[in-house]
């Protein structure tokens, strides 16, 4: 597993705190390579290759699969023919019908079949590779083009963030852990959340899970989204029983003069959220609605919606996407999930 070795090499030296920020990629980016059958023929005469590619491509363009290279040099140096060419896609039905001959695949004679050997079926990657591991897997089946996303590569190798940025992340996650512990003392699930404006570095809201109080939907994320709303002069819930849930009173007057528009940001646009554990589907979608910029969480959850069970942050069919990283203070966040909750008598809301 070459990519793994590489990752370890780069991650170890600059990792004194014992945790690593890992990107949670989209489903398409993190999944393995899917393959489909195509008809391939050997090119027996190398001199015919250029003409054959032109003629075959005219009859069967691979329009939906531009990442596939039409021709490949043979894998084995002992091979009797030097090149192989993709003729056309083979549907699964054709696969059942078995092999077809060259004359069946090119019945109308638009292609001069000189120099081509008997067709056979091969499996090639359906989608263009998005990450280097996917590229390596895809290319082992058939040559493909790869437009590397430098940002993703950097993220995977752990070099996306500077030590200074990592120190800030650690500070914010420590705050999330601290508030989770305060919540646990009140009999709540030990989950904490912090919202930060990454431009100013200001902490805008700090909240813990309140679901075991009066409202089963007050997960830490929902609490923090509402605390940000309070800081903007809105909000839906009162937290007087939970003094650890706090928000920064924004100075609207000065903000108004400093920025364009009405000065108050639109919900959580541009903000980062730190969460001790991966949020559920309700919370992950609430963050889509709130236009969060990035989410950092400590440990995955069995029902998590940002990488484990769903990838709600990276769906093309939703109207907002955000970046997700996991692993920030992973060890301490893991210990936090093991904190026994003090079961107080179930409180009725006042």
């Amino acid at each position: 597993m070459e990519p793994d070795c590489k990752r370890r090499k780069t991650a170890e030296p600059n990792d004194p705190s014992g945790w690593e920020v890992l990107p949670v990629l989209s489903e398409r980016e993190s999944q393995g390579v899917t393959l489909m059958p195509v008809y391939v023929a050997p090119v027996l005469d190398k001199k015919e290759a250029c003409r054959v590619v032109k003629e075959v491509s005219a009859v069967y363009p691979l329009g939906d699969h531009p990442h596939l290279k039409r021709i490949r040099a043979c894998v084995s140096p002992n091979s009797p023919h030097p090149l192989e060419i993709i003729l056309c896609l083979a549907s699964s039905r054709q696969e059942q019908d078995g092999l077809r001959s060259l004359s069946e695949l090119f019945p109308s004679g638009q292609v001069d079949l000189r120099g081509l050997g008997e067709p056979f079926l091969a499996l090639v990657p359906v989608h263009p590779p998005l990450t280097r591991p996917q590229y390596e897997e895809a290319a082992s089946h058939w040559p493909v083009t790869f437009h590397e996303n430098k940002r993703i590569t950097q993220a995977i190798s752990g070099s996306l963030f500077t030590p200074l940025e990592k120190a800030a992340m650690q500070k914010h996650m420590e705050l999330a852990i601290q508030v989770a512990e305060q919540g646990a003392k009140k009999g709540m699930k030990p989950v904490g959340a912090v919202v930060v404006d990454p431009i100013s570095g200001r902490v805008l809201a700090v909240g813990h899970d309140c679901r075991d109080g009066f409202n089963p939907l007050l997960h830490a994320t929902m609490v923090c989204i509402d605390l940000v709303a309070h800081s903007q002069g809105g909000g839906a819930y009162c937290y007087k029983d939970y003094p650890a849930c706090t928000f920064l009173e924004l100075d609207h007057q000065s903000d108004r003069s400093s920025s364009s528009g009405n000065g108050i940001p639109y919900i959580c646009t541009g903000y980062d959220m730190y969460l001790t554990r991966e949020p559920c589907a309700m919370c992950a979608m609430a963050l889509v609605h709130s236009r969060i910029e990035r989410v950092f969480y400590g440990v995955p959850s069995p029902h998590g919606a940002l990488g484990t069970k769903f990838h709600i942050h990276s769906r093309k069919d939703l109207n907002h996407r955000y970046e997700v990283f996991r692993g920030v203070l992973e060890g301490r966040c893991w210990s936090l999930t093991q904190v026994p909750v003090l079961k107080e008598s179930v409180r009725d809301s006042p």
Binding site: P216, A236, A281, H303, R315
Partner: protein, 202 residues
Amino acid sequence: MAELVALPKAEEEATEREEGGVTPAETEAWMDRALAMAKEALENGEVPVGCLMVFNNEVIGKGKNEVNETKNATRHAEMVAIDQARDWCHQHKKELEEVFLHTVLYVTVEPCIMCAAALRLMKIPLVVYGCQNERFGGCGSVLDISSATLTDMGEPFQCKVGYRSEEAVEMLKTFYRQENPNAPKSKVRKKTALSDEVSEVQ
């Protein structure tokens, strides 16, 4: 609390739910009311979604979108209605679960992914809705949160779909055709704000 009819027995409830939970007449009556609420919202320039939570033939929660007034993007009609139903439980000194397990949600549009997850967490057994929510739907359109197997995420719920869906869709289309005055600041928004100020000065 004394005059409230006793809850149906567990077995009766189970058979009732297998048959769809609600009669067509109930569906029509409550959905007509939900649609009237959505229409009212549209006329007031708000997202045209109406919903009702019905327990023992009584409306214990109803909601309209409160995103703009609370500056909280999670205040969808369903979330507001759930809060009202929770308040109703506290007022009537009833356990949440005992009530929500026998409550039906009537809503004009398929709940979004967030609301579908919330309905699971509240253990609502049945949701009757009008039209699909192609942009955010959590009952099959984008994701199927309603029937997915999810640990620690309440219980799956049943859906009954389609009553007066064309009208619900039409209202949404009308709403989205309008300029959304509450969208994040854009040039259009700034211009309007400015012209408002100007007209105020004048």
